[in-house]
């Protein structure tokens, strides 16, 4: 549904990512992995149209922005924003409104459904900014679900969450993928969960160093090395 051809991105003339070519096919669950500063978030922003590539092209085949849901990287800036959980989730239906000024019954029903799936119905009236990190991410995932018809893009949905809450988050994403058939493109720090849940791995290190099925990744040189670094780190802790 989305094809990236020889993509490159730069900030202020400095190349941060180059030679990225891969294809997102319907139903896949793709994890983008790599070190900090390897260009993961930049690539995601490019695919979402938030940042223009410096060269290469992105072909959208049978998908438009209105079919996409997005869970941005966690930011502190919303910490004093007055809004209820329901207001936030419902705002995900914006791209289904077309010319309408107000949300209709269907929009509200979809928001209700998304909140039910994320198990946040009982905090519907609460203030978004006062929720815990894990609850906030569930709310934002519910919003992404409301706006997604075909694809959800997630940028480190579990950063800053404890292991149990992270695992729940990844499981929810997996359910969205397998039960609702929504394609997933996720930036992740957590290589173990990436291997466990995804179907494909895209490994970036300023350039594309691996793209393929996760089974092949685990057997590849780069995959083995990367997994080893993580394994060793975990061992030390």
């Amino acid at each position: 549904m989305i094809i990236c051809e020889n993509l490159a991105f730069s900030y202020e003339g400095v190349n941060v990512l180059s030679d990225v070519s891969f294809e997102i096919k319907s139903g896949e669950y793709i994890c983008i992995v790599g070190e900090n500063g390897s260009g993961k978030s930049t690539l995601v922003k490019g695919i979402l149209g938030l940042k223009n590539p410096s060269s290469g092209r992105i072909i959208y085949d049978g998908i438009s922005k209105k079919d996409i849901g997005y869970l941005p990287q966690y930011s502190q800036s919303k910490c004093d924003f007055p809004s209820s959980v329901y207001e936030v989730v419902l705002s995900g239906r914006l791209n289904s409104m077309r010319g309408r000024a107000f949300f209709n019954k269907e929009d509200k029903a979809e928001a209700q459904k998304a909140m039910q799936l994320m198990d946040i119905l009982r905090i519907k009236r609460q203030n978004f900014s006062e929720l815990s990190g894990g609850q906030k991410q569930r709310v934002l995932l519910a919003r992404a679900l409301c706006s997604a018809k075909k694809l959800i893009v997630l940028d480190e949905p579990a950063s800053g969450l404890d292991p149990k809450v992270s695992y729940d988050m990844y499981s929810l994403v997996k359910r969205i993928n397998s039960e609702l058939g929504i394609t997933i493109l996720m930036v992740s720090h957590d290589i173990r969960s990436a291997i466990e849940f995804s179907s494909h791995i895209l490994h970036l290190n300023k350039t594309q160093t691996f793209y393929g099925e996760k089974e092949a990744y685990v057997e590849s040189e780069i995959g083995k090395n990367y997994l080893c670094i993580w394994g060793c780190e975990h061992h030390v802790h």
Binding site: L48, K65, L94, A101, F103
Partner: protein, 280 residues
């Protein structure tokens, strides 16, 4: 006695004009203010008012009709200020301060060169007597426009204000909405300067939202509360300034400050009760 005073105040036709103009401008400013404050664009309102002052002063000095020059200039300024604050690399807040103080300097120079010092005061601090019938009609029309646009685009404006990246990524032209808010703010600032003055107009934008946020926690309730607050504080400030013979603009800002402090205390008290209830 209080009723008598009010009846007396509004027996002057200029006070009725000030009341209507100010009330409509206050409500408009407070609605736009919610988006500006939450998007951290408060400085844009401030910058626009200084540019507005410069433009008004220069156009008066050159003998043009003030609004005809000021409105387009401020709209162009809104465009640039928005670009500046979106561009993290150029230190947006410093650049805005640069533009606003320069405009202030140009305005002061223009007024002093044209030799009308009383005008300087009325631009900087507002002058109730200078509110004309045209100002009144324009502000009523503008307010009606803002309220209608805001209501129709309410859900979109909420989404753009809450999370611009998400809203843009999922297919909404967020730049257009930012521009719309900045343009409406530009109009509001220029019209409101006649009542409150260039130095104080941005308080109409910032105060009601901040005050409402102390107590209310959903977007809709903050917008509604900000509207009500701005109307009440304007009314109280206007009447008080007339009775106490104090400058109107400053009195209205003080009324806003008092409201803020009251809401601050209520918010704190509520927070404590909330925490206690949770702990029990």
């Amino acid at each position: 006695m209080f009723i008598d005073a009010i009846i007396e105040i509004f027996s002057h036709s200029f006070m009725v004009r000030a009341l209507i103009t100010g009330l409509f401008i206050s409500i408009t400013a407070s609605i736009l203010g919610v988006s500006l404050v939450l998007k951290r664009y408060s400085m844009i309102g401030d910058g626009l008012s200084h540019v507005g002052f410069g433009a008004l002063a220069i156009s008066t000095a050159l003998g043009f009709a003030p609004l005809v020059v000021a409105v387009p200039v401020v709209i162009i300024a809104a465009f640039f200020l928005l670009r500046l604050s979106n561009n993290a690399k150029t230190k947006g807040d410093a650049a805005i301060a640069l533009i606003s103080t320069s405009s202030l300097a140009f305005g002061v120079l223009a007024v002093s060169l044209s030799g009308a010092n009383s005008d300087l005061n009325s631009y900087l601090f507002g002058s109730i007597i200078s509110v004309s019938k045209l100002d009144m009609y324009l502000s009523v029309a503008l307010s009606a426009l803002v309220v209608v646009i805001y209501s129709l685009l309410y859900n979109r404006i909420f989404a753009v204000t809450f999370d611009e990246d998400f809203t843009s990524a999922t297919g909404t032209n967020t730049g257009a909405y930012n521009m719309l808010i900045a343009n409406l703010t530009a109009f509001t600032v220029v019209l409101g300067m006649r009542v409150l003055g260039a130095l104080l107009i941005s308080s109409l934008i910032i105060f009601p939202c901040l005050t409402a946020m102390r107590v209310f926690k959903t977007y809709k309730s903050v917008v509604i509360c900000a509207c009500v607050l701005s109307a009440v504080t304007f009314l109280v400030g206007l009447v008080a300034s007339f009775m106490l013979k104090t400058p109107t603009g400053a009195t209205i800002v003080l009324a806003n400050l008092i409201a803020y402090l009251v809401f601050f205390v209520i918010g704190k008290a509520r927070g404590k009760i909330h925490i206690k209830a949770k702990g029990a």
